[in-house]
């Protein structure tokens, strides 16, 4: 059973539909106690870091997530859930969960042809093998929509990169936590495979 964290940050139902399609049982919750007891957690989301953090705090989900991480529960972050696991985000200058050291940084591209947000399909290159990315081949593309990217302080926590006016981390992780900047639930068969890999991780 995968527990999806509801903190008013969009795309929850998209992730739910993808898991249903894969035949993976899931439930949606905003209850911190359920999060603490979860077997597996997906922490999805679209939206702004400041608003996301304030809802997480209001609902007591911030401490529940920290405890679940410390207890070794497998956690998958997606999109904004790949950014607010860091210490801070430049978006809204928000203080975040701090599960990993580092911060979410705004793209600063100099090429006027590169538009912000970075939106569309882009290649993801695995830089360190990880079970969730086990099936990827060079040139495989995923769907991104974001203006900020995750930058862990410890480069060994970067598992894959993509390129948009320069390389940026597209997948990061530590121990039982893994997070992808792309929308696995909207990245076709390859994205579904990441979700399936997580269900078995």
């Amino acid at each position: 059973m995968i527990t999806l964290i509801d903190y008013n940050a969009g795309n929850l139902t998209s992730v739910r539909r993808a898991l249903d399609h894969l035949g993976i049982p899931s439930r949606i919750t905003s209850d911190p106690e359920t999060v603490r007891r979860a077997d597996r957690i997906i922490f999805p989301g679209v939206g702004a870091a400041g608003a996301a953090m304030s809802v997480l705090r209001q609902r007591g989900l911030d401490s529940a997530l920290k405890e679940a991480f410390a207890a070794g529960t497998p956690i998958l972050g997606i999109c904004i859930g790949c950014q607010i696991i860091l210490d801070r985000s430049q978006e809204d200058d928000a203080e975040c969960l701090g599960l990993l050291r580092g911060q979410a940084i705004r793209f600063s591209v100099t090429d006027p042809l590169l538009k912000i947000p970075h939106m569309g399909w882009n290649a993801v290159r695995v830089t360190r093998p990880h079970p969730l990315l086990a099936h990827l081949r060079p040139g495989d593309e995923f769907y991104f929509v974001h203006s900020y990217y995750p930058q862990p302080a410890d480069a060994s926590q970067i598992y894959a990169v993509s390129d948009y006016g320069g390389e940026f981390p597209a997948a990061i992780g530590k121990d039982n936590l893994f997070a992808v900047q792309f929308h696995a639930e909207k990245s076709g068969p390859l994205g579904l495979m990441v979700l399936e890999n997580f269900s078995k991780w």
Binding site: G10, N11, T13, S14, R17, A18, D20, H21, V46, G47, P112, K115, P117, H118, M119, G120, W121, N122, R137, G139, D140, E141, Y143, V145, D163, Y164, H183, E185, K186, S187, G188, P189, G191, L192
Partner: protein, 261 residues
């Protein structure tokens, strides 16, 4: 680098897939859910689902078709046709779409673009413009006018000005649909597409007139579009998504090729 996107537009009338020529003479050509799934499996990058009768006949969006598509198709998906309020938008997003396509309602109430953008984020708001070529005038200096209600009503709005205004109001993408080219399969309107793509900082999706893979090549290079919308080419089985993409990739266009698992 980002790939150029191939997007298919599923025009739906009474729950069935339809295709028009110059916006009239529509006929039913199948089940939109089955088509969406077929194109997804062929490696399509994105879908647009458009209720073509919604705005002229005052009908709501077919939410059940939207949610059935969303259960089977795991690529980004937008919905348009008859969305007049933020609540209308919210319903289609909850039914499984990532984005809303605003068209006639945005012309009548431009504040809707700003309100939707603030509520759902710019990435969820696509401004869809139906454009007709007209003689250049003081009111329409670009020579392209915005029309609404499926192409039946001229608005007096200059297409280039409207595109810039839409961006300023918070649209995250623009669909530029040439009514002159729609359904002709004679190629996209390159002059119009390029003019708008060069004037805005958000992605431009070219629509109307795609009949052969070289038309997509032309609009993605000379037309400066970020994405191309295809309908007839796919709906009548003349080409698969894979064939179009292979053609473009061989000619140096950065495009996502879906490999067999």
């Amino acid at each position: 680098m980002l790939s150029k996107r191939i997007i298919s537009c599923l025009d739906v009338r009474d729950g069935k897939l339809a295709k028009s020529v110059k916006f009239v003479d529509t006929r039913d050509i199948g089940d939109p859910v089955a088509k969406a799934r077929e194109y997804y499996e062929q490696g399509l990058d994105e879908l647009v689902f458009y209720d073509i009768t919604a705005s002229s006949e005052d009908r709501g969006i077919l939410l059940d078709v939207v949610s059935r598509v969303a259960e089977q198709v795991f690529i980004p998906f937008s919905v348009g046709g008859g969305l007049r309020t933020v609540e209308d938008c919210s319903r289609v997003l909850l039914a499984g779409a990532e984005k809303v396509n605003l068209n006639s309602a945005a012309v009548k109430n431009p504040g809707l673009i700003a309100e939707a953008s603030k509520t759902f984020g710019a990435q969820a708001v696509v401004l869809s413009m139906d454009v007709l070529k007209v003689p250049k005038s003081a009111a329409i200096p670009s020579g392209y006018e915005i029309v609404i209600h499926g192409g039946r009503t001229p608005t007096g709005l200059d297409a280039l000005e409207w595109a810039k205004r839409g961006e300023g109001l918070g649209a995250g993408e623009l669909v530029v649909n040439s009514i002159d080219a729609d359904g002709t399969k004679a190629g996209y309107e390159l002059t119009l597409t390029r003019m708008i793509a060069e004037a805005v900082g958000i992605p431009v999706i070219a629509s109307g007139g795609g009949g052969k893979p070289e038309h997509l090549y032309d609009v993605l290079t000379e037309g400066k579009a970020d994405a191309a919308l295809v309908a007839s080419m796919l709906h009548y089985g003349e080409y698969t998504v894979g064939e179009i993409k292979s053609y473009l990739a061989e000619r140096g266009i950065k495009i996502r090729i879906q490999k067999d698992e």
